[in-house]
Subunit: 529 residues, 2 copies
């Protein structure tokens, strides 16, 4: 009795523990993966199959069409300045010449060697992180009995999908066989068709066989793919084989881009104050800042204004809907811009300089309409000087793939297209420093705090591929007069201190934008007009 | 003489002006585009072609394999809680049950209707901005004489490329014809092959014809595509036709992702101080903050520490390599985190709470090694309480596509895989609040300033698809004791004020993370264990 009681007690303790252990042991299938390499083997696999489709045609001659072939950048890129045709007064203004800067030239030799080595190493690692099998060239071969999806097959990580559109048209082998192979997931079948033998369910290679083509194709409709090797954004290559015929296609494995919507709130109207935050950066010029605020309040009394301030001895800036942030002294314009936009909680953010003045031409509603009604992410306006001269600073930015030395950046004044339905507005790549943008997009691109005060275009270059940019010439803000401040006898003490800091200061820790084009963005040269 | 002089003078003035006008007129080919619609027509075009490949097989029966077919989320998703099997002490701890939250239930009816309407509108616009023809399903048809590239063809906006891999195998028509059609660009030829007639050069449709198949295929090698309708990130669909046979493939039109490298600087060594910035947020707890700083300095005397501070009456925090930012009172933890990371100028940023203590187990070098040597973007460590209990807070986040009501979010404790070569480290989706990350990635995802103090996982959910996350259990930071602060008689005045603000404050302007899952991220429900 004594032993039995102890035995029962022991059992009562051990059984749940065993059950618990068993439960955890069967739920965990811990596998180990190597994430140092990147998808090298898949790329090699694909490239082996892309051979010159008709090497036997190589002997057929051709005549090069210069005008087209010179626009192909096959073996790298160059930055070439225009050769000056003739020089006369205002020639640069009337016929702007393109200049070229070779970026390596801004570094001393010893610094350059070290920078190049570091940059190349970073570039290799970056390629491993960014490339997937979905970028590789795949060809669909002619006269193949295989049908399969070439694009559009996606699965969320660790999930399962049916693979659409696979089938086999008649071939000579009986019974009919097909093989499917993958590397980052396994195959299975969601339903069984009688008369088809399936082997390899739950494996990375599955084999289907049937004497009947119709039955085989019906079974193919039910083949599933499950991602088993986790990665948040990658692609698997599926090999689809029947006899001597083989095809490859990719399955993207990724979470879709996460939406990041803004909502004006349950009790709020849909207007500039609930949709837009105004952001600015200030340094010393509190009088101009106050003029800006007063001018905004004439038209938008309730819009939130965020101010980033890196003045040495900051003064308070107060008022309804004012948010004032104090930074360490002299952190700079880019750091200030990045700070200000990091605090925005509305759908759009409007960037202004602290010496702008709002007028009745500063119709923010027009910018909101454009952003609400189109696929644009950012819309620039126009800045009017006291002279009446109004600037939109529209620029086109293009790049060409280069070599180990880097890529080529080309900057030109201009724009791509007019925008239908929005007169006075165009599509471009860079705009003046008065613009409204979708908050999540501007936060994604960011203003690089490594830059101090110069480098307006650096933001737009960082945004290439991410930002769809527009510009309207009829949303106009005025620029407070600089004339007085530029005359030696017209400068107040503040103007003098400001000017000294902004234009003549040597901050050790800041870099200029050309350094960053080379070191950060992997360019080797720049042309601009 | 008099007239001639005037005439000559007039000519001297008018000619350059005319030349100028002519120059500008010929350089500007301004076209207008509609950017309101998104690529609807291309999608429809493709979907018409994806028909059930073998509707004649529909009569063939099949037997469903439950275990596989239930994991397919074909018609939306659901969030289901586990049914409790049995309840006993510690049952939730030993056998965690999954709970489910239907997000619409957190809103009142009137608020919900308005929110849904707004969110649906945002979602439609978002789809127009984000989708391109490169996402659509395309099938490669069997037994087609056409060979063409199915993936990997890319052109930078406004640039020109050769289209690789196109050719035609024998078909019955003589002479042989092929047509190529596009919507966002034009075709041309980089070289002419004699014996082939080409029409439509420079147009959106080109036609090649030749009595000889070999000559036609040689000419096809030289066909170019030029993007003419600008968009920073889109895709064109090319139709490739020969007689009754037709194939579609896409050409991606985009700038490649812009690299954003960091460089320690020409005279700097490659170590934690040059690669890492430590970022934290503080409120009231200056004593704890100072303990943190002192403990960091024991091991890393020169690493930069950025402090975001939203205390009501902030005190100065000074010292070498300290950057102290003052925020408006009570902006919150997320706003503070977003501010702090917006200011980082090093390659990596380490997030810490202001009440952590560094010890000899806080080896940041290990996190740097992992980030330098793998494709990870973020690595979490472990936080040790005074009791000795150490937490890594690893969570797996998965999502399923839903319906108009939204998608489904599933949160589970755990991880995906061990990491080869890094014992103690795993791949996961969310980690504890002590992590090191690539600066450009953490800035891209961002901490949403709309959240005030709660919602740790919200950051990782925003990062789904963007962040590759790891966790190591042997990089440990200590958590300053909370025990004293939690006992009523142990609280200092500061602890009391802190506690009151953090745990009991009702900020009108802040939202909690469930609001955002619904309104911002388009989820309808959440399950978690």
């Amino acid at each position: 009795m004594h032993c039995t009681k102890k035995g029962v007690a022991a059992l009562l303790v051990i059984s749940p523990l065993t059950a618990l252990l068993f439960y955890h042991w069967t739920s965990y299938r811990v596998t180990s993966i190597n994430i140092q390499q990147g998808p090298v083997s898949l790329k090699v696999l694909l490239e082996e199959r892309i051979q010159n489709p008709h090497p036997k045609n190589d002997h057929i001659p051709y005549r090069i069409k210069e005008s087209i072939s010179k626009s192909l950048t096959i073996n790298g890129c160059v930055c070439e300045a225009d050769k000056p045709v003739m020089k006369f007064p205002f020639s640069q203004l009337l016929f702007p010449q393109v200049s070229a800067t070779q970026l390596h030239a801004i570094f001393t030799d010893s610094v350059l060697q070290k920078a190049k080595k570091y940059r190349n190493q970073e570039y290799q690692r970056y390629r491993k992180r960014e490339s997937t099998a979905a970028d590789s060239l795949i060809l669909s071969e002619a006269n193949s009995p295989l049908q399969y999806p070439t694009q559009g097959v996606e699965v969320r990580p660790t999930r399962t999908i049916l693979i659409p559109g696979k089938s086999l048209l008649a071939n000579n082998e009986i019974p009919h066989h097909v093989h499917l192979t993958a590397s980052l997931g396994t195959f299975n079948i969601a339903a069984q068709v009688d008369g088809v033998k399936v082997s390899g369910e739950g494996e990375m290679q599955v084999h289907l066989m049937s004497p009947s083509l119709a039955l085989l194709n019906r079974q193919l409709e039910f083949v599933t793919y499950t991602n088993t090797r986790f990665h948040p954004n990658t692609a698997d290559v599926v090999q689809f084989k029947a006899g001597v015929f083989q095809a490859s296609f990719t399955i993207k494995i990724r979470h879709p881009t996460m939406p990041k919507f803004y909502n004006p709130g349950p009790n709020q109207e849909y207007n500039v104050s609930t949709l837009v935050t105004i952001a600015t950066k200030t340094f010393l010029r509190y009088d101009k800042l106050q003029d800006l605020i007063d001018s905004i309040r004439q038209f938008y009394p309730m819009v939130t204004i965020i101010i980033a301030d890196d003045t040495k001895e900051p003064k308070p800036v107060t008022g309804p809907y004012i948010q004032h942030y104090i930074m360490p002294f002299g952190k700079g314009w880019f750091a200030g811009r990045n700070l200000a936009v990091s605090q925005v909680t509305t759908k759009y953010v409007l960037w202004v300089d602290d010496d702008f003045i709002f007028t009745s031409s500063t119709k923010l509603e027009k910018m909101v309409d454009l952003l609400e009604g189109t696929t644009l992410d950012l819309v620039g306006g126009a800045v009017r000087e006291v002279t009446g001269y109004t600037a939109t600073y529209r620029h086109i930015l293009t790049t060409d793939a280069g070599d180990d030395e880097g890529d080529c950046l080309h900057i030109r004044t201009g724009f791509h297209h007019d925008i239908e339905g929005f007169p006075g507005c165009v599509i471009t790549d860079a705009v003046i420093n008065f613009f409204m943008a979708r908050t999540e997009k501007i936060q994604q691109v960011g203003f690089d705090p490594r830059l101090a005060r110069v480098g307006h275009l650096a933001f737009f270059i960082d945004g290439l591929g991410s930002l769809h940019v527009g510009s309207c010439d009829d949303v106009i803000v005025s620029h407070a007069s600089k004339i007085k401040a530029m005359l030696p006898w017209g400068q107040s003490e503040i103007d003098e201190a400001y000017s000294k800091f902004r234009y003549h200061s040597n901050q050790e820790s800041s870099v200029n934008e050309y350094d960053l084009y080379y070191l950060k963005n992997h360019f080797k040269c720049v042309t601009s007009d």
